[in-house]
């Protein structure tokens, strides 16, 4: 639980300026890394065992090692699109310590021998983008970006690219298309971005938090970093806790901390008199867990074993005052809105799931609709170019499985209410949407 790394002293005033960041020892990891051969830096990353903090949890060192060798144009893209509902850790990092991210980018670029870099930040983060741009300008002026950084072989331009509001652009290939100035439609994989990504060149894509951790790995040494956390999930993790908790916010924990400690001790638990009904362990795309699973250690493998995932590290807590149907409907409407429309199972599946949930809400559904809805979720999973559809199908499927009784009770109650008052006004209201 202790072991504050990324967030250590992050509230220090003016940490976003180069002066304060360097006074605290900033950019010393970059100097150290640039004095090491690229392979040695890569070995530190591999030894650290750090897994991507954006959602998929893929080992970062491995990702870097997949990049082809040779002196062709290779790109580093920092995914700062952070649009997974419930996630807001990257926002705080970029706002308060933008130089930590820049330092991580330079070190990662050295490890992978990359010669162009971009930060794709979501358009809504206007304040953070402005802070980043100022920090990038300072880093250029200090010679930490641009040609032959600190006299080394490494030359690295860095462009802050603002998105314009689309969840799918957080998906790595959708992000690449968007960065190329297109609609953000995901691409077929393989080829994976490490082989053919931005402008068809080899591309390393990493989340903000992952890259922010890199300077700390170099400072501590990969082996030392790997001692934090648990065996398959090393290091610390920023967890965004939100929803029905008394102290919502970002907390840095050591991976493997029990979820109950995060939700109750750190975030204060649900308001007095209410109890946790369900929680999303890793953003709204992760299958929901119930109060019975609060004692699970919070790490990648344990959550996967429990049928969910750590995802982006965003815990959303829903207490017993909220019907599960409301949560499901909110969720499904979000994914319907954000589906890019390219793959049929996702475009149609999200749309029909919303309609079926609305039927349940209006008391027009039969118990069979639940089965149909569950089967729709099964047919989305794994059948699209990207995982947006899966991101709806997994939590909705889990909700139907775990809260079937509540759905059925709601259907019956709504049917009774509908036949008593006539549901035509509700229907009309619905139609007006």
């Amino acid at each position: 639980m202790s072991g504050s790394l990324l967030f250590k002293g992050i509230d220090e005033p003016h940490l976003n300026t180069l002066e304060v960041y360097e006074r605290r020892g900033g950019y010393s990891s970059m100097r150290r890394a640039l004095s090491m051969p690229a392979e040695a830096v890569l070995n530190e990353l591999l030894a650290s065992g750090i897994r991507g903090r954006g959602g998929a949890g893929f080992a970062m060192g491995k990702k870097v090692s997949f990049l082809p060798k040779g002196s062709i144009d290779k790109y580093l893209v920092c995914n700062a699109d952070e649009s997974e509902p419930g996630t807001f850790k990257d926002r705080e990092l970029m706002q308060k310590s933008p130089h930590m991210l820049i330092e991580g980018i330079v070190i990662a670029a050295h490890a992978g021998q990359l010669n162009h870099s971009f930060i794709y930040i979501r358009g809504e983060y206007a304040e953070q983008a402005t802070i980043l741009e100022a920090a990038v300008a300072e880093a250029y002026a200090a010679g930490y970006l641009g040609e032959n950084i600190l006299g080394s072989e490494l030359s690295l331009p860095l462009v802050v690219h603002r998105g314009a509001g689309a969840y799918i652009c957080g998906e790595e290939t959708g992000l690449l298309d968007s960065l190329e100035g297109k609609r953000g439609n995901p691409r077929l994989k393989p080829p994976f971005p490490a082989i053919q990504g931005l402008y068809q060149g080899p591309t390393l894509i990493n989340n903000v938090e992952t890259l922010c951790t890199v300077p700390h790995i170099i400072a501590m040494g990969g082996d030392e970093y790997a001692k934090l956390g648990v065996e398959t999930s090393t290091g610390t993790k920023l967890v965004s806790v939100s929803g029905h908790v008394q102290r919502p916010g970002n907390y840095e924990i050591e991976l493997g901390t029990p979820a109950r400690e995060i939700i109750y001790d750190l975030a204060g638990g649900p308001p007095a008199g209410r109890a946790v009904k369900l929680w999303f362990p890793g953003g709204s795309s992760s299958p929901v867990l119930t109060a019975d699973e609060l004692d699970l250690p919070y790490d990648f493998n344990t959550l996967a074993k429990a049928g969910s995932m750590l995802g982006s590290g965003a815990i959303i807590v829903v207490d017993d005052s909220t019907p599960v149907l409301d949560v499901a409907l909110k969720l499904a409407k979000f994914y319907r809105h954000e589906s890019c429309g390219k793959c049929t199972p996702c475009r149609e599946g999200t749309n029909w799931t919303v309609r079926m949930l609305e039927r349940i809400e209006l008391g027009e559904a039969t118990p069979m609709d639940l089965d149909i809805m569950a089967s729709v979720q099964d047919q989305i999973i794994g059948n699209c170019l990207c995982v947006l559809g899966d991101a709806m199908a997994m939590p909705i499927g889990a909700m139907i499985k775990r809260f079937r009784g509540e759905f059925e009770a709601h259907m019956e109650a709504a049917q009774l209410a509908g036949s008593a008052s006539g549901s035509s006004s509700a229907l009309a209201a619905q139609g007006a949407l």
Partner: protein, 259 residues
């Protein structure tokens, strides 16, 4: 219901409308009502990313062409901004989003004129840029008020009363064309739920009785609810104050609370 069952029900309904039995007539009416409802809901209403996907193509229209620089008058500042953006990327087309954002700032929305100007500088067709612009939520494809209020209504915020906040802001604005109030997908600020992005500034948590003050601030060109702005908010993490001169973790005030 199976397809056969549905067919049977429909034929029963058709028969009922002829025979006039009350129960059958009621059923027919309910089916008719559903049909009407389904017909009335555009399939991808509310934020489709494929607008006009089922409209027929207009074959009488000329194919979109590159705007003629001699014919299109682009404001100098806009041209310079777009050209500077294009120069930053290995492939200038990557500047499509910054170019559209710049054009939208000048024109207030992505009007055909705005898109034509951006297309002219980038040497792309207006059709291409329109296709790009319609994909992204932050590009306004219709005239929009100058004050953009995006109310986050995703899960975490709605658990904390975002739908009520959206309704309250909408009614406080009361159709004023200066305001562009939208319910928006997760803005990445669930720690200050319920919240809104007000002209790009994150504000929250906003209680319902602060809504009028928020609107007044905007009407009088003041910074929106300064005390509620995200950038003044300290971190909730105990380690965040671990710097010389920082307040030790155990002496810190609580960081806000639930509504």
């Amino acid at each position: 219901m199976s397809a056969a069952g549905r067919r049977a029900k429909r034929s029963r309904a058709d028969a009922a409308s002829q025979t006039g039995s009350p129960a059958a007539a009621a059923e027919a009416e309910s089916i008719e009502r559903r049909r009407v409802r389904h017909a009335r809901i555009p399939r991808y209403a509310h934020g489709s990313r494929v607008p006009g996907w089922d409209d027929a193509a207009d074959l009488t229209k000329d194919p979109s062409e590159l705007p003629d620089p001699a014919q299109v008058d682009v404001p100098r500042a806009l041209r310079l901004e777009i050209e500077a953006a294009m120069a930053k990327y290995p492939d200038s087309r990557s500047a499509a989003l910054p170019a559209l954002a710049a054009a939208q700032r000048v024109h207030g929305w992505c009007s055909p004129e705005a898109i034509e100007q951006a297309a002219c500088v980038m040497a792309l067709t207006p059709g291409y840029l329109t296709a790009v612009a319609t994909f992204y939520d932050m590009f306004e494809m219709h005239p929009a008020g100058k004050h953009a209020i995006y109310v986050c209504t995703n899960i975490s915020c709605s658990l904390c009363g975002a739908d009520e906040l959206h309704a309250a802001i909408s009614s406080a604005v009361d159709g004023d064309p200066d305001f562009n109030v939208r319910s928006f997908e997760c803005l990445g600020a669930c720690d200050i739920a319920p919240m809104a992005s007000v002209n790009g500034i994150y504000v929250g948590p906003i209680s319902l009785d602060e809504v009028d003050a928020l609107i007044d601030d905007l009407r009088e060109d003041r910074s929106p609810l300064p005390a509620r702005q995200l950038n003044r908010r300290p971190s909730t993490d105990a380690g965040a104050n671990d710097f010389p001169g920082g307040t030790p973790a155990d002496q810190r005030p609580e960081n806000g609370g639930p509504s």
